[in-house]
Subunit: 435 residues, 2 copies
């Protein structure tokens, strides 16, 4: 599918330029496979810029026959502007990650049709009629195939890039191949693991209601110790090739299909970070729901579904991951020859359970980190932002912060995913005292 | 000092050849700095091959003025032969590690005078009148400056390559720079973390006395679970640039000086692996001592010194590492801004203690792994091998295995280094029942 082996003549490293719509049309017209895929005369292709993320340009291009999505990295953070430069190489890592994920989780990521390293540009199949999951959740929609799809995506991409599945030499090559993506990692290190817990110019929160909580979080040394341990793990635990930004804005859905996009933060990191991104964002969706109610209880069915979904994401992930470990363990970790016979099989299974218990603790902590950064840090979620009444928004956010603090500081007290959803339900009806 | 920037004309990648003595003389004579350092006519330089390690050729070259050590990698494992190929690139990683360590721990590693990548050859200052520490320990010698030197070497090389000291981007570059050394890591993965615990052709042990223990260790699922967790950490925890093979055969000593050599196994791995190598090998030295007694109690003073040394290595390492953390923490982990004020300082200090406690647990486990591999695996120690009476040797080895098993399976029960030396003392007088 990919035509990266035969880039157009212009793809030299010094030839990066931001492609305006007209140039993009001409560029795509000169790629035979893409032109054929789109169909019809290039002059009548529709092109619209739809990027609503924080970093890049995204164009939807539609022709007589089909459509494509074109993603071009900008040399700076779109959300902030040229004052915050960001390497174009992230497009290279996104391309690497997309092809890796496509191999391991076919159908769950967009197919890459073309990649131009010099232009930091990737052309992908157009994912339609999908919408960004976060928008669907805000509208109260249910996605029955989501659990199975995301559990499969997580289990397969994480397991098959881990020491359980591949030889150490291959894993070390993978780690080295993604080591250059450190500028994107640094964004996470700062915006998720550091800034929300200290005075930082870019922090914001729903004022004045959350002023006291934000101040308390900046003084909370138990929390600071816990987030620092999580940060150390983020820096120090290349367990698998992770997506690195797996929130509900990086997932496109219909009732029957799920597609994970935007893996430009990919690197070898802790598995719990991806799991925590999914679960943390679902918890925010759940606790934001009250803010989107027209009348009390209106979204009860949705909320029940979100809680079940949170439980099932972990449970089905764990089930699939363990099954892969039992059947596809070709890596150097936990050599089966050390666990011979019936007793060995039983003991290895116990070790697998212990491994999953450790991974669950990580997941609880990282979930909490993802929640806190979206409420007290730079980049916020429309789950909360679209709650128009700022006080109602603050109530949902305060509940989320209360839950997240408990999950981060007392991660070990959450013995299973049921304890997480139970705590979420309890906090759902908690009324914060805004003084 | 290094002349790697101006290699002789022959240094092309395809020009590797094993240098016989005559060629080596000619090669060195053509390096002006080396020739001057050696002094006098090349024809009268003395050259002797002294490599007693498992992997390489090592020549001592002495001229009228001075001496050098020349280390050339062979394309196979020397201990086994051409049937076990091993990449020459390990010389590149050794060179990288040596220059890194020289910068961080000056005076504690040999200076590199010349490096030829194509010939996989490093010329270093001759370390004299030092001897290999293991040999001195077997002879019952005490090394008063060892503790301070090795504690400094460990604290500085580990701290300054960790996320506590350097920015994440720099650390990721370092990890990538050493990722290619996976063939050497694989030796450790197999010979330390796997083979001693299963039937493997290359395993050997002191027969028949240890037959039952070797069989028991191959059946011991508690042990297999523990070694598998340690192996996972070895695969998955690039905490710092570690030496990777820091046994007492990689340390040269006089009463007043310590020099660490042979870092060809270097990569970014768990700090506890280096600490465990030092402590595990000192524990073997302690428990082998009885086998070298001419009369009971003859080596009592030596044994007391070794136990004190074990305690002091950990204690002084921890002291120096913590002091560096307090004063040189320029890395991305544990940002000081999250621990402001007096309470913050106190809390960060508590976190540092918790970090050291975790590192100590790793150290206990890795120490045990290093002991077991030397008694039941492929490569043995002369600490034991030079005990001529095989039954006496087996007694020392059985005591070491008993200690190591407890340390690996119940690492958490060893709450401090004093608990380790106490357990070592207890096992020192245990009489194994060889049936």
């Amino acid at each position: 599918m990919s035509s990266q082996d035969r880039p157009p003549a212009s793809s030299r490293q010094d030839e990066y330029r931001i492609l305006p719509e007209g140039d993009l049309r001409e560029y795509l017209a000169r790629l035979p496979a893409i032109a054929e895929h789109l169909g019809g005369a290039p002059e009548v292709w529709s092109i619209s810029e739809v990027g609503d993320g924080n970093l890049n340009l995204v164009f939807i291009v539609k022709g007589a026959e089909g459509g494509v999505a074109v993603k071009q990295a900008l040399p700076y953070v779109r959300l902030v502007g040229e004052s915050w430069p960001l390497p174009l190489s992230r497009s290279h890592y996104e391309y690497l990650a997309l092809t890796h994920q496509a191999r391991l989780a076919p159908g769950l990521v967009p197919s890459v049709l073309h990649h131009n390293e010099a232009l930091a540009l990737v052309v992908m199949e157009l994912i339609e009629p999908h919408i960004i999951m976060r928008k669907g959740l805000i509208a109260g929609a249910l996605y029955p195939s989501f659990v199975g799809d995301i559990a499969t995506f997580l289990a397969r991409t994480l397991f098959f890039s881990s020491d359980l599945a591949i030889p150490a030499a291959q894993k070390k090559e993978g780690i080295a191949a993604f080591a250059g993506n450190h500028a994107l990692c640094k964004i996470t290190e700062d915006l998720v693991f550091t800034d929300p817990y200290r005075v930082a110019e870019q922090n914001r929160w729903t004022q004045p209601w959350l002023d006291a909580t934000a101040a308390a979080f900046r003084e909370d040394l138990d929390l600071h110790a816990a987030i620092s341990r999580l940060k150390l793990k983020f820096l120090n635990a290349p367990e698998a090739l992770i997506h690195g930004d797996l929130h509900t804005g990086s997932i496109m859905v219909t009732e029957g299909s799920t597609v994970v996009i935007d893996p430009e933060f990919a690197f070898y990191g802790p598995m719990g970070f991806d799991l925590g991104a999914v679960i943390g964002n679902l918890l925010m969706s759940y606790l934001a729901s009250a803010g989107h109610e027209g009348s009390p209880g209106e979204r009860r069915l949705f909320e029940v579904w979100v809680l079940e979904t949170i439980e099932n994401v972990w449970t089905e992930f764990a089930h699939e991951f363990l099954e892969l470990w039992r059947t596809e363990a070709h890596g150097d970790a936990y050599p089966p020859t050390l666990f011979p016979g019936e007793a060995g099989v039983k003991r290895l299974e116990a070790e697998r359970r212990a491994y999953m218990a450790r991974l669950f603790q990580d997941t609880v902590g990282f979930s909490a980190a993802k929640i806190i950064r979206r409420i007290l840090g730079l980049a916020h979620n429309i789950d909360f932002e679209l709650i128009e009444d700022p006080k109602r928004r603050a109530i949902s956010e305060a509940r989320s912060l209360r839950l997240a603090r408990a999950m981060m500081v007392d991660a070990a007290s959450f013995r299973g995913i049921g304890a997480v959803t139970k705590a979420a339900q309890e906090v759902r009806d908690w009324q914060p005292d805004f003084g």
